[in-house]
C-alpha cells in the first residue's frame, strides 16, 4: 500500500531565509503521525506545503499519492485541515461557516455536523466573534472532521482546549483512524502528541532531528527515582547505584531524625534507559519506600531540541531558550491542572 504522505528533500525559502532545510519523512496510511518542535521550527510551513497554500522551493511532496501542487480540488476534498492560527469571520455563526465549507468540500452527512458539535459541546448558532479561543478551536476541528476526510492535517489541534475536550478530540482521532483515516498533527509540546501518535518526528530549525515511536522516546526518556532503604550505609547505596547503567544525578543522605532507626538512607537519582538492571540491584537492598516516576518525555524531547545541531553549533539558536522556557511551564501547569481534576 502506498504511503499517505511522502516528503522528500523539502526545502522552503522565504526571500533569502531558508526555513525548511530538506525534510524527508513518510506517513503510513491509517496511522497518526505527530510533529513536535518549538515555535518557528517549521511545522506550520510543512503543513501549508501539504495543502498547496505555500509552494516548496525544492523537493517533492506526495499526498494520498498525488502532488498537491497539481492535484487540484479533488485532492483537497479528501483532506481535512485545521490551520495553526485559526481566524474566523466575525459576522457569522458557526453553522453558517460550516455550511459554507460543506458546500465547497462536501458532501457532509447532515447529521454528522450536529453530532460533532454535540460531542465537542459547541453552540453552532452563536456569533463567532463571541466565541472563546477554545470554542473557536472546536469550530476549526469540526470543519476539518465533518466531511470524514481520508487525511487530517491538524496544526496544534489541542491548543486552547480544556482537558475534557482534549479527551473528546483524542477519541475523534481514534475513530477517524479506525475508519481508515490518516492523521498528521503537530504540537510544540509532546504531552499533546504522545497520547495520539504512533510515530513522532521532532523538528528543530527546519530539520528533522529524529523520527521515532513514542515507545522509543519513552526508553530514551529520563525517569526520576527515589527510595528509602534501611540497614545500609550511604556510601554503599551510592556505590550500588553507580554500577547501574543510565543512572545519574545521584544524591544519598542518611536519615537520623526521630522515628527513623539509624542506618536509614534516602536516595534520589535519575534513570534513562532500561529499568531491569536497576531493579536487580535494588533487590539487594531492604527497601522501605520506592518511587519510579512516569518518564518525562518532555525532558527527553527538550534534550533533543537543545542538543548541538550542526547548523547552529553548541549554543542554542536565538529564539530557543525563550521558546522552550514557557512551554515547559505550560506543560507542567497542564499536568498539575490534570492532576487536580482527577
Amino acid at each position: 500500500m502506498t504511503q499517505a504522505i511522502v516528503v522528500e528533500g523539502l526545502r522552503k525559502k522565504f526571500g533569502s531565509r531558508e526555513v525548511l532545510h530538506g525534510l524527508d519523512f513518510a506517513v503510513e496510511p491509517g496511522k497518526v503521525f505527530g510533529v513536535i518542535g518549538p515555535n518557528g521550527a517549521g511545522k506550520t510551513t510543512t503543513m501549508r506545503c501539504l495543502l498547496d497554500i505555500i509552494r516548496p522551493s525544492a523537493g517533492s511532496i506526495s499526498v494520498l499519492g498525488q502532488d498537491p501542487r497539481t492535484a487540484g480540488t479533488s485532492l483537497r476534498r479528501r483532506i481535512g485541515y485545521l490551520p495553526g492560527e485559526l481566524h474566523l469571520e466575525n459576522r457569522t455563526t458557526g453553522r453558517r461557516m460550516v455550511e459554507h465549507f460543506a458546500a465547497i468540500s462536501g458532501p457532509v452527512p447532515p447529521k454528522h455536523v450536529n453530532e460533532l458539535a454535540e460531542r465537542l459541546n459547541l453552540d453552532l448558532d452563536r456569533q463567532t466573534r463571541k466565541l472563546s479561543k477554545g470554542n473557536k478551536q472546536k469550530l476549526g476541528l469540526l470543519q476539518a472532521f465533518m466531511h470524514k476526510p481520508e487525511l487530517l492535517v491538524l496544526d496544534e489541534p489541542t491548543s486552547g482546549l480544556d482537558p475534557l475536550v482534549q479527551q473528546v478530540f483524542h477519541a475523534m482521532v481514534r475513530e477517524a483512524v479506525d475508519d481508515g483515516a490518516t492523521v498528521f498533527l503537530s504540537s510544540h509540546v509532546l504531552s499533546e502528541v504522545q497520547q495520539a501518535a504512533d510515530a513522532v518526528a521532532i523538528l528543530r530549525d527546519g530539520e528533522i532531528v529524529t523520527v521515532s515511536t513514542v515507545e522509543t522516546l519513552r526508553t530514551a526518556a529520563v525517569r526520576r527515582l527515589r527510595f528509602n532503604s534501611s540497614g545500609t550505609e550511604a556510601h554503599d547505596v551510592g556505590a550500588l547505584l553507580a554500577r547501574v547503567p543510565g543512572v545519574a544525578n545521584v544524591a544519598v543522605r542518611e536519615l537520623k531524625a526521630d522515628g527513623h532507626t539509624a542506618g536509614t538512607v534516602e536516595a534520589t537519582a535519575t534513570l534513562s534507559g532500561q529499568v531491569q538492571p536497576l531493579v536487580q540491584e535494588l533487590a539487594r537492598l531492604n527497601l522501605t519506600d520506592l518511587v519510579l516516576e512516569e518518564p518525562d518525555l518532555e525532558e527527553a524531547v527538550l534534550t533533543l531540541y537543545t542538543a548541538p545541531s550542526p547548523r547552529i553549533g553548541q549554543s542554542p539558536g536565538p529564539g530557543q531558550p525563550a521558546g522552550n522556557g514557557p512551554e515547559v511551564g505550560q506543560a507542567t501547569g497542564r499536568h498539575a491542572e490534570g492532576a487536580h481534576r482527577a
Binding site: R48, I53, I54, T73, Y81, P83, R91, I104
Partner: protein
C-alpha cells in the same frame, strides 16, 4: 449536493449590509442634488454666479455644463458625488476580496477546502460586478424617476449609456484594487491602487481640461475616457465603454494569475 458558485453566493450575502448602505447613500445624493436643478442650473442668477467664478474652477468641477439638465446631472451626480460614492464602495470591495481576506487570515482556510484560487478570484470579482450593477441600476431608476419632476430633460437612451459608463468607471477602480490585493496579499495596497485609479483619473481630467499644454493628461484619465463627451447629454462612447470593461476583465484575470502563482498567508 454541491451548491453553484458557493464563493460568489457567500460574497454577495455577506455584503448585503454594505451594499444597502451604499444604496442609501446614492439614493440620498440623487434625491438631494437632482431636484435642485430648476433653481440652480436652470436659473439665470446662478449662471451669472458661475460665470463670475474663475474659469479654471468651473472646468475642474465640470460646472461649465450645468446650464442644461443632462449637463447638470452629468456634472453633479455622475461626475462628482455618485462617482465618489461608487468608487469608494468598489475599491473597498475590491481590496477586501482577496488582499483583505488573506491579511485577516481567512483565505488560508478557504483555500484548504475544495476550491481553486482562480475560482476564488473569479467568483468574488463576479460578486463585485453584480453589486456595482445593482447600485448602477438603482441610480438609473432614480434619475429616470426624477427626470420629469426635476425638469432634467434627459434622453433615456443616453442615460442608459451614461450609467453603463458610470458602472464601468467604478468597476475599474474596484478591479484595480482586487488585482493589487491579489498580487500583494495586503488590503492597503489594494486600497491604494484602487484609489489611485479613481483619484488620479479625476485629477488628470480636471488639470487636463485647463489648457492645451496639459491636454495630454486627458489620455491617461479613465474618468475622461468615460465622461469626456458628457454621455448623459450626448450618449455613451461605445469604444470607451468596451475599453473600460475590457481593462477590468484583464485586471481580474491578472489577479487570478497573480494569486495562482504565489504563496498565501506569508
Amino acid at each position: 449536493m454541491p451548491k453553484i458558485l458557493p464563493l460568489f453566493t457567500k460574497a454577495l450575502t455577506d455584503s448585503w449590509r454594505s451594499t444597502l448602505a451604499w444604496a442609501v447613500g446614492l439614493s440620498a445624493a440623487c434625491m438631494l442634488y437632482l431636484p435642485l436643478y430648476p433653481s440652480i442650473g436652470g436659473s439665470a442668477q446662478m449662471q451669472d454666479l458661475i460665470n463670475a467664478l474663475p474659469p479654471e474652477m468651473t472646468k475642474a468641477l465640470n460646472y461649465d455644463q450645468i446650464a442644461s439638465g443632462p449637463g447638470y446631472t452629468q456634472a453633479t451626480m455622475f461626475g462628482l458625488i455618485g462617482f465618489l460614492l461608487m468608487s469608494m464602495a468598489s475599491v473597498g470591495w475590491g481590496a477586501a476580496a482577496v488582499g483583505g481576506d488573506e491579511e485577516s487570515g481567512l483565505l488560508e482556510l478557504t483555500l484548504a477546502h475544495s476550491v481553486t484560487r482562480v475560482q476564488v478570484v473569479l467568483e468574488r470579482a463576479l460578486a463585485i460586478v453584480v453589486r456595482i450593477a445593482l447600485l448602477s441600476l438603482l441610480v438609473f431608476l432614480l434619475v429616470l424617476g426624477l427626470n420629469g419632476p426635476s425638469q432634467l430633460g434627459i434622453d433615456v437612451g443616453h442615460l442608459a449609456g451614461a450609467v453603463l459608463l458610470f458602472a464601468a468607471l467604478a468597476l475599474l477602480s474596484g478591479t484595480a484594487a482586487l488585482f493589487a490585493g491579489a498580487l500583494s496579499g495586503r488590503k492597503v495596497y489594494g486600497i491604494a491602487a484602487g484609489a489611485a485609479v479613481a483619484v488620479l483619473g479625476y485629477v488628470f481630467n480636471a488639470v487636463g481640461r485647463q489648457s492645451p499644454d496639459v491636454e495630454w493628461l486627458l489620455n491617461l484619465s479613465p474618468y475622461h475616457w468615460a465622461y469626456g463627451n458628457s454621455p448623459v447629454a450626448n450618449g455613451a462612447d461605445w469604444g470607451a465603454t468596451a475599453g473600460l470593461y475590457g481593462i477590468s476583465a484583464v485586471l481580474i484575470v491578472l489577479g487570478a494569475v497573480a494569486l495562482q502563482r504565489r504563496d498565501v498567508g506569508v
